[in-house]
Symmetry: D2
Subunit: 333 residues, 4 copies
């Protein structure tokens, strides 16, 4: 039985607690939050669980095997570091850390201590992403041309991070999971309008072989959009995460070029066939992820969403920030 | 009666001929196309109109007052120049020219000759853009935050220009028409996959006062999207040009920041009110534009979509190309 | 403090318990369900509440003021009757009873005992129905022409009632709430395909002044549809209950007839103006309804969704069944 | 070469003329319309074609092989009869005739004269209906449960016929084409609000084996809907004719019943699999139909949309009118 302590019981914390409580093989033994109201909510929902305002109570508790860090990103490094130092596995909210250096230090520490780090890239456990991964792995889409995601809505404004750090980690972790190549460079543009941090931003990620990624994030959109287009040589895919039933549509569409007699006679032919919406499993992603964390600990497996995965996302975020500060300079990775 | 000669009778030419034929005060007297098949189509549709394969026949004809140039962009400059030199007003397809220098030369020539140049920025004459212009002019939207357009579909691939020169002129001319400020810098990223020119591209345009524009163009999308989000301080707007009936939706939504006791207590409040889809006039844009061209000539008016408007668009396209070649370098305008 | 006993803890019961537990002025003191598993679920969720498999324990308990009957429809009459006989107010799931006679008997009994009956017509408490009621009451729509609802999806099949008794009570209670006139006749058609009861059915309800209602219910639809069209003399309304944000759209559209010189010269003119989506309050309907039940008891108010409202719905269902059995005979109400 | 005379050049007539003009093997030699303006339009568009205001000129012309009747329904019988009597094949607009008796007389006359009758059930020639027919013929859908169509919009009001005669012939001809069984009874309900004929109506058609059809037609809807649900034992289909690209969606969804130990333990299981949108050929239906008419004449083939098909639709319309007059009485066919 893995005994879990959860630090942070704000917006996302209750979901973490519920899922580790329900997962087979794990038990939440303590919850920490600095805010009185959150503590009271936690105590009411889980009368049998210790509730504390002091992270230290959990970080040093002998009856805790793993710590879930569900706090603002600027606190991740310190909390995760102390957890690892105290011999505890860590489950860390995304984005993993505020800097690449922090991520590297945590990874090295965990390796030394033979402890697990899992970064909460929840989307990787959704039925939709799993299905897309299959369609790429079994070469249904063919060689990839582009990944283009739009993730916009009204709010929720964050005070400490800009819209890229808030929304893009979802896309960056999904791209990291789906695309085999290593990204080479990042360009980010954007603007701030209200509270001093960028609230609208656009991020281009260059990959080898002319593969290109693009992310459109915006806290000031009147409508909520969660749409990703993936273009492949063989097929093209539209993922609309807001649709209840037909989240993924695979289009048998494409373009072919053949040369005519002269260069200017290059012939284009378009292929338009059926569309197909594969059934997407309806599971609570976090439930599967919690079970996977427990499994990785008990069976000593390396999670695919480990510290390295978290680091890869943070390195792209860091590059995006650099680029954004210079209005879109190309930043090599 | 303004007698019009139309050079180019391929995809768009027939629409130009039909509208100048129907417009009050104008008459198409000659059509030119190098392709036999196009010539035959033109002759069949307009038995009373002269048809020729030689542009020169039209450019030098004494019974022609105005020339419409509806040919590939690389031919615009030469044809428009000769038309102006021969004392004819010109109506030129978008984009105006291949370079800023060409545009400037044509403008100067037209001024000297006291002739009109109109660039076919058709979208400015649609009910939708006219309605949006009203909503901005009467301050319904308030101070603008961003203009974010997605214009993607499968094909039609162009051989001589990339996807930016093919699709972005629509958005650039609309932005030029709607946004009061002068753009300051451009960043463009993108990739080529098939025929050596970029087929997917993303363009950021920086304006003063933190206003930002973004254009997503793609020839390799399985679905056709024509969606523009415009964020304003007072209201936000969604323009979906594919919708038959509710093209424009105005959202009474917004965000406000107020300071709490301490910096970290900054309070965000969201406003969510009604949505309103104003009726959009259903007119053929090109019909209104043709009438406006005739009106500008006969009443000696300066068109708002004149050579200067065409030049402003070309200068952004030229900057985008420069930026694209360096994977997204910021190019000042 | 109104002490509530809830009979039935299957699909809907937990929502009833939760809302009466949270409502100010009420307290759930006992829950009853015949099924062991449901009893265990109830006990686990509400450790402080008595749980029993015997309805009688609740119906005769001296510390219970009101009984919520959340069981299959064929048991409503018996349970509600015994509750009333024992001096308890009743909150009864829709549809109220299996027959008109049963409804009348309960109403008469409650009047004699000076007790309240409320029928759980939940939809009347949604933001959408409240908004539509306002638009009718303030004459925005004008004189009503028709109410046309489609309520179809895959399953959930009921064993004891047909698709009309399962799905149409929603629409019938909403129509009863929105439409001033008294319905005059019912026609129902439909078919059974799987388990001996109609799984697809169509119901027409005739009102005075040419107002007409229509309900399309279907357990065998591949897609979920919850769409209602309401046509009025002044404006027309589309209510799509599946939309998250723009549930109600009001169209400034209409038709006018004017006579020309001769009968066959009757002129039709169409009016097409703006569309408007008023903000719909996002509330949990059942929460408001629970509070209203408590308010009606403590302040001795007559609920608008009282036994009479329940009876009116049941009388239409009874008429629909009669009509359906004769493949669509007109049944006067 | 089949020489065609077209009577009626109002809304639909120009499409008929254009398609018979373009079809291989046919030539339009004369057009008739009583209205001066229509005659002028016809003459302008087809300078080489005779134009007349007298139907008789066409009906008796020796150089005409076939007459297309594109006039209001109440004139169909007289015009088609005289055309047949004069030895001409007829192509008649839908609905075929105003009464069953008229349809039978024309069929008998055509048989005697060995002439062809084709009724313009255009929809049968669309890519969508052809595709659905294939899906039924190759048993993809399995045994059919229901056909449920909604065909509503604002206007166009007809003066001489009600909304059923205006809009339902589309659905009735499609159902006649797709469903193997012979309909057994009709129930129609509806109301009139403006010009004395029903402007909203609902029609149920009973078939053997519990198959049921339903048609919802309405001239007073603020939105245009063209949606048909077809439920089959194996698969379910949604046809949205307004969608540009994914008109037909086939759902791998279904319900199965198995008996448990006792009757009330009947178990329901739902199957939810992939959705699939087969490519639908984009053709002008009328073009294919015109070619088919010519082919049926020249190769002496019996069209599937012959007088008998027209008669079957008229008999359902006639039954619907009878039912409607008695507010929904079941009318046996």
């Amino acid at each position: 039985m893995i005994r879990v302590g959860v630090i942070g019981y704000g917006y996302w914390g209750p979901n973490i607690v519920r899922n580790f409580q329900q997962a087979e093989g794990s038990l939440v033994v303590a919850i920490c939050d600095k805010c009185d109201k959150s503590m009271r909510r936690a105590q009411q929902a889980y009368p049998g669980v210790r509730v504390s305002s002091e992270a230290n109570d959990l970080l040093t508790a002998v009856d805790i095997d793993a710590i879930a860090v569900v706090t603002p990103v600027w606190t991740h490094f310190e909390l995760a570091k102390r957890a690892l130092e105290n011999g505890k596995h860590v489950f860390v909210e995304k984005p993993f850390t505020s800097t690449v250096a922090q991520a590297e230090e945590l990874i090295e520490l965990a390796e030394r201590k033979k402890l697990k780090i899992m970064v909460d890239h929840t989307f990787l456990f959704t039925g939709a992403v799993r299905r897309i991964r299959q369609l790429i792995d079994n070469d249904t889409l063919g060689h990839l041309y582009y990944y283009d995601s739009t993730r916009v809505n009204l709010g929720l404004f964050q005070h400490d991070v800009n819209v890229i750090w808030d929304l893009a980690p979802h896309d960056l972790s999904i791209m990291d999971h789906l695309i085999k190549q290593k990204p080479e460079a990042v360009v980010a543009t954007g603007e701030r309008h209200l509270n001093g941090v960028a609230d609208i931003a656009f991020m281009t990620i260059y990959y080898p072989d002319n593969m290109i990624g693009h992310i459109n994030v915006n806290w000031l959109s009147p409508v909520k959009v969660r749409t990703t287009l993936i273009g492949g040589e063989k097929k093209m895919l539209l993922w609309n995460d807001i649709e209840a039933d037909e989240k993924i549509k695979v289009y048998d569409k494409g373009v072919q070029f053949t040369n005519g007699e002269a260069v200017y006679q290059q012939l284009v032919s378009y292929r338009t066939g059926d569309m197909w919406a594969p059934r997407v499993e309806q599971v609570e992603a976090l439930r599967a992820e919690a079970a996977y964390f427990i499994e990785c600990i008990t069976q000593d497996k390396k999670p695919f969403n480990d510290g390295q995965a978290g680091l890869r996302v943070v390195s792209m975020l860091e590059a995006a920030d650099k680029s954004l500060q210079e209005k879109g300079r190309v930043v090599k990775l």
